[in-house]
């Protein structure tokens, strides 16, 4: 029986080892490319074990290193963290297989360097998932930003430079100027960097300052892409699609909303939030972001740009859920992390497949190609249904909980917001399979999609359906998360 501490270590070290071993195998591409999926399998196994332990009522902890008096690097498995950790590790397996197919199919350069930083980014994301205190969270939050820079600027041309600058300036700027002092403020007010299930601020923090502290956190967590801190996400689409798929649909942005939810529940606490009304303004900001980015998405012709804005919109769902300060809404938000991740990664996989296979990146070019790439567009269709929230895809559960939560907190307008955005989602997402299957083909294009791309896409698409039927363990985790101690 492996101890919990070792389980945490295995799950966290697996991607780090992949990162360190990859340069040694750079001359043997086949071995090097197997490392990624292998590491993903090991991490997923660990993440599943840790999730099971939470369901059994345990709380695994690992104190790694004491930096100085009162500050240390420690890891703990919370229900929220277990979910995010599982999402990141499982989807890493498929993203790793996909990226092998993509990088080879596109004949990209510097593949070894790519895989090194890819694994490092996953490692950082997992460390965020299992972060045991605010400092560890911040440390790996920053490591994630810096390790994804080489991935975003992989192409090393002028566009990459511009995108990279925007990416770093927004993410580093917000985290250094707002997130760090907010964390230290909490440290000064509560005397430690620990978080706890019901929040640590209750009773220690002056309620008048709570909205300002929350604002510092909200705008400091740039990865959650709330307006106006959202510009980095469309800019980061210059990266190769495996990066956009895993990192900017799953790891980086989910790390952002994960941090957001963690702060809202484990630092502020749902009770404190509803008592002080500190997050009321956030409800409106998140709703605004939701709707505005959905509308912007309609006008984007580039597939990845549309998906980027769709991601920003979906992230606002999660932030909105957290801001509603009710247990149902928080549960919905947490479930949305999983369902959106599965759905969005499918959509990005498809976008990459279209680019590699047919060299197309604009939606207007897609007319009539459904017959030549049927499986791909079918996967897109299923993934979109999940994002829109139609049963029997997993996304319907999270939408359901979110709407219940809005009703529970008394925000009826928010339910209207959800409904409007569902309609918008349907419009801009369904356009793609619609064009592919129902429009006439305008030009002939040679299609060649590597098998290593098709398979992961189909698997993740299948996952969205699976999530509908097997939502129960996750639901149980979220109820543990919101239960009062």
């Amino acid at each position: 029986m492996i101890s919990f501490e070792n389980l945490i270590l295995i799950t966290l070290l697996s991607p780090l080892l992949v990162c360190l071993l990859t340069p040694l195998l750079s001359s043997k591409p086949i071995l090097r490319d197997i490392l990624g999926p292998l590491g993903g399998i090991i991490s997923s196994w660990g993440a599943i074990q840790l999730m099971a332990s939470i369901l059994n009522g345990e709380q695994p902890r690992l104190e790694l290193l004491q930096i100085a008096e009162g500050i240390s690097i420690s890891f703990v498995v919370t229900p929220l963290g277990a979910i995010f950790g599982l999402v990141a590790s499982v989807l890493w397996i498929f993203a790793a297989i996909y990226s092998v197919g993509y990088m080879r199919g596109n004949k990209e350069k510097n593949q070894t360097r790519f895989y090194i930083f890819y694994a490092m980014a996953v490692h950082a994301a997992l460390c965020i998932a299992y972060a045991g205190d605010l400092l560890t969270l911040f440390i790996f939050y920053e490591v994630l930003t810096f390790s994804t820079y080489p991935l975003v600027t992989h192409k090393q041309n002028e566009m990459a430079q511009k995108a990279g600058r925007l990416y770093m300036s927004i993410l580093v700027g917000t985290s250094v100027i707002l997130l760090l002092p907010a964390i230290i403020w909490v440290w000064v007010v509560t005397g430690s960097l620990e978080m706890s299930q019901n929040g640590v601020l209750d009773g220690k923090m002056n309620p008048d300052y709570a909205p300002y502290l929350l604002a510092m956190f909200v705008f400091g967590i740039g990865k959650a892409a709330l307006m106006p801190i959202h510009k980095w996400l469309p800019a980061a689409m210059v990266a190769p699609t495996p990066v956009s798929a895993l990192l900017h649909a799953v790891a980086v942005v989910k790390a952002g909303v994960f941090t957001m939810l963690l702060i809202l529940t484990n630092v502020f606490g749902i009770d404190f939030l509803s008592k002080t009304g500190a997050s009321n303004w956030l409800v409106w900001l998140a709703s605004f972001t939701l709707l505005t980015t959905s509308i912007i998405a309609i006008y984007k012709d580039d597939i990845k740009a549309r998906l980027a804005y769709s991601t920003i919109s979906q992230l606002s769902y999660i932030t909105l859920g957290g801001a509603l300060a009710s247990s149902m809404a928080t549960q919905g938000a947490t479930l949305h992390i999983i369902t959106h991740a599965a759905g969005k990664i499918t959509l990005f996989f498809v976008a990459g497949a279209i680019y590699v296979g047919a060299k197309m990146s604009k939606i207007s070019e897609l007319n009539g190609h459904g017959k030549s790439m049927p499986l791909i567009f079918l996967a897109f269709f299923v993934g979109s249904l999940s994002i829109i929230g139609v049963p029997p895809m997993g996304g319907s559960w999270s939408k359901f909980f979110l709407m219940l939560g809005a009703a529970e907190s008394g925000y009826i307008t928010v339910i209207a917001v959800f409904c409007i955005s569902t309609i918008l989602n349907a419009y801009y997402l369904m356009e793609i399979p619609a064009r592919a299957f129902f429009f006439k083909k305008e030009r002939e294009v040679k299609i060649k999609i590597p098998i290593l791309i098709t398979i992961p896409t189909l698997i993740t698409c299948f996952l969205t359906i699976l999530l509908f039927f097997f939502i129960e363990p996750f639901e149980n985790l979220t109820s543990i998360m919101v239960s009062k101690l």
């Binding site: 100085a68 400092l135 440390i139 490591v143 430079q161 600058r165 580093v172 100027i177 760090l180 002092p181």
Partner: protein, 497 residues
């Protein structure tokens, strides 16, 4: 035997480099003079470690020079506060001496090298003496020893670039004016208290609270030290002096010279005068605080527009000195501790960055500017790696030393109800990422049209690797730095008289 050694350590740690400098100047052989310098700085470092252990046992060591008892005689004081800069100076001196062995012959003609090493040892001895002494006038003497030696060292850069001469001249004039201002201050204080010993001064000053001569003397002393510590606006000598000095010299100066003066500033503000004194509180909040904030931004903004990398790093030093003085200006125990933490970490960071840049300029045989940094990453991977790590440390990336000092500085300012100060510090720190990122971008995204082949030299990159490793080590295990700084702050600010 060891007993005598231990008893006389305070003077030995100064004497060792001082005496060796007299010997080294007579030796014409380059390797031998380097070896003696290396031995002497290494021994000084060992002595400082021994002193550290002694200080842990008896918390203050007072050594009377020539057995003349203080307060009439000159006294050397090693306590939990002064041991800190002693360790910084000896450690950096030792590492830089290793680094200099390859760099010196490249930049200075062979007949002068042993004389340069002699000046080198004089500068180090002066700095060590500066922080050990407990007598105000003796401080001036050591201040001038280290300054004059540094001026001469900076001027040696004239072989590569004649701008070093003007830089050295400006350094000399401005530095001499500053030192003389300090002497005026000491004179005024001596005139009203009758003593030069710092501990004795601190007692006698208490009765003289509103004495005009006291305030004037204090003012002169502070301004004089601020000139040496390159606090804005008296920092103008610093950028050119660091930029055009020979490689090893810029590493040594950037890492240690201003730190010693900052330590003296803290001593005068907090030991000689009392923190609770109105005079000090007003000085801190109305003079040093605004100047530090301006320094932070002025230094960073000048660095953003600078194309020559050594000048860029020198401007960045001005900003970092601003952080340290800001920490002192906030005036609480936590903030003074944060100031000391940053003194230590910045010495490591700036030392490492200057080492990396000067090694790059050694390999390509030109001044390094933003344009010719391009693509060198591939050609010199070890240097590039160390450079990136240390830039990230300067930016305050977690897991490096720079982050630790930032963390404690912000915590201290928020605890002292200065959230706006914290935001300003972080804002300027985010701005500093701009110029660091420009350098990293140039290395990552650009490449030269012709391929550059460079063979990295082990002697150079060993000291670079050691100092980079220290950067990461003190980012992961900051207990030594944090604890010593907290003890130092405790001694300075903790007990009010």
């Amino acid at each position: 035997m060891t007993d005598i050694l231990i008893k006389n350590l305070p003077i030995l740690v100064v004497l060792c480099p001082l005496m060796m400098s007299l010997i080294v100047v007579l030796i014409p052989n380059i390797f031998l003079s380097w070896l003696l310098t290396f031995a002497s700085t290494f021994v000084a470092f060992i002595f400082s470690i021994l002193l550290y252990q002694e200080v842990q046992i008896h918390s203050t060591i007072s050594y009377a020079l020539g057995n003349w008892a203080p307060p009439l005689g000159i006294e050397y004081v090693i306590d939990k506060v002064s041991i800190f800069p002693i360790i910084i100076i000896t450690l950096i001196g030792f590492l830089t001496t290793i680094f200099s062995s390859k760099m010196m012959p490249d930049e200075i003609n062979e007949t002068s090298i042993s004389k340069v090493y002699s000046l080198w040892l004089l500068a180090i001895a002066g700095l060590i003496g500066l922080v050990t002494t407990g007598d105000a006038f003796n401080l001036f003497v050591f201040l001038e020893i280290s300054s004059l030696a540094s001026v001469a060292l900076v001027a040696m850069g004239a072989q590569k670039d004649k701008q070093a001469l003007v830089a050295a001249y400006n350094y000399l004039i401005i530095g001499a004016v500053g030192a003389t201002l300090y002497v005026i201050g000491v004179g005024l204080l001596y005139g009203i208290t009758g003593t030069l010993n710092m501990a004795d001064l601190s007692e006698r000053v208490v009765d003289l609270k509103n004495n005009k001569a006291l305030i004037a003397g204090f003012g002169f002393m502070i301004v004089g030290i601020m000139v040496k510590a390159a606090v804005f606006p008296m920092h103008i000598w610093l950028p050119r002096a660091y930029a055009y000095a020979p490689s090893a010299v810029s590493v040594l100066l950037a890492a240690t010279a201003t730190k010693a003066s900052l330590y003296i500033l803290a001593r005068i503000l907090f030991s000689v005068f009392d923190i609770a004194d109105n005079l000090i509180i007003n000085t801190l909040s109305y003079i040093i605080l605004p100047l530090s904030i301006i320094a932070m931004f002025a230094g960073t903004i000048m660095a953003v527009y600078e194309k020559d990398i050594k000048r860029l790093l020198a401007h960045s030093s001005v900003a970092q000195i601003g952080y340290i003085t800001l920490a002192f200006a906030i005036g609480t125990k936590a903030s003074v501790a944060a100031g000391f933490i940053h003194m230590f970490n910045h010495a490591l960071i700036k030392g490492a960055l200057f080492m990396a840049i000067t090694s790059i300029s050694f390999y390509i045989q030109k001044r390094v500017t933003l344009s010719n940094l391009s693509g060198l990453g591939r050609a010199m991977p070890i240097t590039f790696f160390c450079f990136v790590i240390c830039s990230l440390s300067l930016a305050g990336l977690p897991l490096t030393a720079g982050f630790i000092s930032k963390l404690y500085l912000i915590k201290a300012s928020i605890s002292a109800d200065g959230l706006w100060i914290a935001i300003l510090i972080l804002f300027s720190s985010a701005l500093s990422v701009i110029y660091l990122w420009k350098m990293i971008e140039a290395l990552w995204l650009q490449q030269p049209r012709k391929e550059i082949i460079i063979k990295e030299n082990p002697t150079i990159y060993i000291s670079l690797l050691i100092i980079t490793f220290l950067n990461i080590y003190f980012g992961l295990d900051a207990s030594f730095v944090v604890d010593s700084s907290t003890e130092a702050a405790e001694k300075l600010v903790g007990v009010s008289k």
